[in-house]
Symmetry: C2
Subunit: 450 residues, 2 copies
Amino acid sequence: MKKLILLALCASTAAVAAPATPEALRDAALKDDVAWEITEGLTTEVGPRLAGTEAEARARAWSAKKLKALGFSNVRIETCDMPVWRRGAESGEIIAPFPARLALTALGNSAATPAGGLEAEIVYFPTLADLEAAKDGSLKGKIAFVSHAMRPTQDGSSYGPFGQARRIGPNIAAQKGATAIVIRSIGTDHHRNPHAGNTAFAAGVTPIPAAALSIPDAENLERILARGKPVRMKLLLTPTFDARGQSGNVIAEVPGSDPKAGIIVIGGHLDSWDLGTGAIDDATGVAITAAAAKRIMAAGQPRRTIRVVWFGAEEVAGCGGPSYYERHKAERHVLTAESDFGADRIWSVTAKLGAGAKPVEARLSSVLAPLGIAFEAGEAHGGADISPLVEAGVPVIDLHQDGTRYFDLHHTPDDTLDKVDPEALRQNVAAWTAMLAIAANAAEDFGRVE
Amino acid sequence: MKKLILLALCASTAAVAAPATPEALRDAALKDDVAWEITEGLTTEVGPRLAGTEAEARARAWSAKKLKALGFSNVRIETCDMPVWRRGAESGEIIAPFPARLALTALGNSAATPAGGLEAEIVYFPTLADLEAAKDGSLKGKIAFVSHAMRPTQDGSSYGPFGQARRIGPNIAAQKGATAIVIRSIGTDHHRNPHAGNTAFAAGVTPIPAAALSIPDAENLERILARGKPVRMKLLLTPTFDARGQSGNVIAEVPGSDPKAGIIVIGGHLDSWDLGTGAIDDATGVAITAAAAKRIMAAGQPRRTIRVVWFGAEEVAGCGGPSYYERHKAERHVLTAESDFGADRIWSVTAKLGAGAKPVEARLSSVLAPLGIAFEAGEAHGGADISPLVEAGVPVIDLHQDGTRYFDLHHTPDDTLDKVDPEALRQNVAAWTAMLAIAANAAEDFGRVE
């Protein structure tokens, strides 16, 4: 008996020293090519994949084929129905006092202008608060122009408050009687590429045409306005709505050895805005998470099932995340994490785990530190796709990419493969692999969190 | 008598020590706002100003008014007639094997496609030499795609050889029977903004549609081609020609005290490509040279006349430079210099002066060194507008801007005011002011050069 125990201990010791330690898996992942292969393939062979469109359906088919080829189990597509907003023609120009063609793009859920466009005087609001302060009816027959002073932040936190100009600005302008609204793109670059993105109109508010100007165009318009003469603009947007669209999630698994240990759900979103090829938003997210899961799979069966979900319709707040939750909420989800912030190097990690999982945090801290990643005390929140899980109390880990340059590219035509640094991408895969190696095999229970 | 000589010497010494020394003028110019004011005004109030168009005429009117307001003498517009190429609609997409919309722009002198566009298979040439090696007739019914490997250089020298893909590639493709040609934009950035620019078809060669793809689109196309399947492209370009256009030069002077000492001609070009607002190409060039001349004017009448010329139609090899030369060749031009390489910091100076002007080079070297500018032994060439003067033997000085990032923006929609660094612009004005302070007052004759 003693001998047997000793043998078991030796085997266990041998396993710890073998290449399959989280540290060894982490270091091997620094040579990963799978994440690049997925990112390159998805951006080149599918390209833009707007939620609910035929392009997104092609992306699902491409993804299921790819995940099967990578050796995942239970690869499947789960579709869901949703209305689709599609971009049409779009153009704009300053008519007076100085003619200038504008680089702009319609915001998601924008109404269309008349087929021949519309022309109106611009009313300038330096901030969203200025628009909010405008008198009801004061914008009648006018185009509101809302600017802002968003600057880059490493953690992306400036997107929250400044992004409100896009998220709620159009609804406010519509309520105050504006004919249309243009905003300074929610971004931090200086290129003639406008930033797309969703807006929403409240029930009972009639949507108006809403567009984002590229930042150089917005700054030029501000200089024109500073001359003090009335500024007239022409705007043409012809987006369409289709009530009958379909999105969906692509799911793949690394089955765990212990069904009672539950499921770890990781992933990113498969859909993208239509102007670029969705490289950093979010081909890299689906690529990083799948590449890391594949490394765990290759190292031997983990204790917990790792479920990789490539969500549909994230960009338009569509049916992907909610339909996953509705369909799977009865299953035992024990942990979740999402990659949806580009592929620059991960610089910090936060976790929201049950009290019994403190030792897991310590091990994560130790294995991630050599990658330049600091374990921080702040809360973890997850991404939009997994928020129904997080809200339901599923523990969550956030691996935070450096977002300093993320909003230079976010939702623009410039979100293309050449913006992905292969070495930074590998650092992401290494961090995810190390995290999964610990989480999928931890003896501790992650608990529930509120 | 001795007393008088002494007084004269004292006066002369006093003059040297006074604020009007080249060194003092140089240092004062580091606080210049005039160049910014011109650059900001021209890009905001006029914007794009394609040669031969109504926009270029507006630019001339704006410029004459501005130069008068700045206090220059003999401000005038000298027009010249030329045919005009105007951009029309433009779009392109990969049809198969993977659908992809392309960011592209027609090259100057491109022919139009049929009104509904054309569709054809792509034949890939990694370099211009590969296109040159293609058999005659082998491109019949095909679209040639020519790439290149241009990389940034501080002196801009990579533009010469790599730019040939744009300058002569379309003519070669047309001669070999191609239906159309697309090239990788001649540039060094990674944005979805194609680089416009002129091409030329030889007499007897029927022009074909010719466009530049943005660099991310060209790289994506290369990845698609690397899959080994036939690649089909749709291309729509509807540019037009108009035989009856008008361009012209805007001329302003700082009259010299000694008519026999001749005229120094400086300037840049007023026209721009139509996609951006022509900020670095070449609003800054006209701004820098005028701001420097104004500083000389304000410091007291120089010995030589400084003639500031804002040339028309440089970008399209039009009538501005040649018509200036034809009209003024009988005048005594003693020196010329042009600013047409953006507004990053000047890092070197070269001069081609007669042998008797060696002391001038020494003084230039001394006054420019504190600005970080090295006097180099290489030849000076001048810009395109002043090349008829230089070819006729007029001495020339080149103040070389750092061009490392110039071809990121050159001829793109991104050539806008926000790309101009006000501090670097001031360094340019300081260098030009110091150069003019020496050249306009030098006792030496600059001679003639071959």
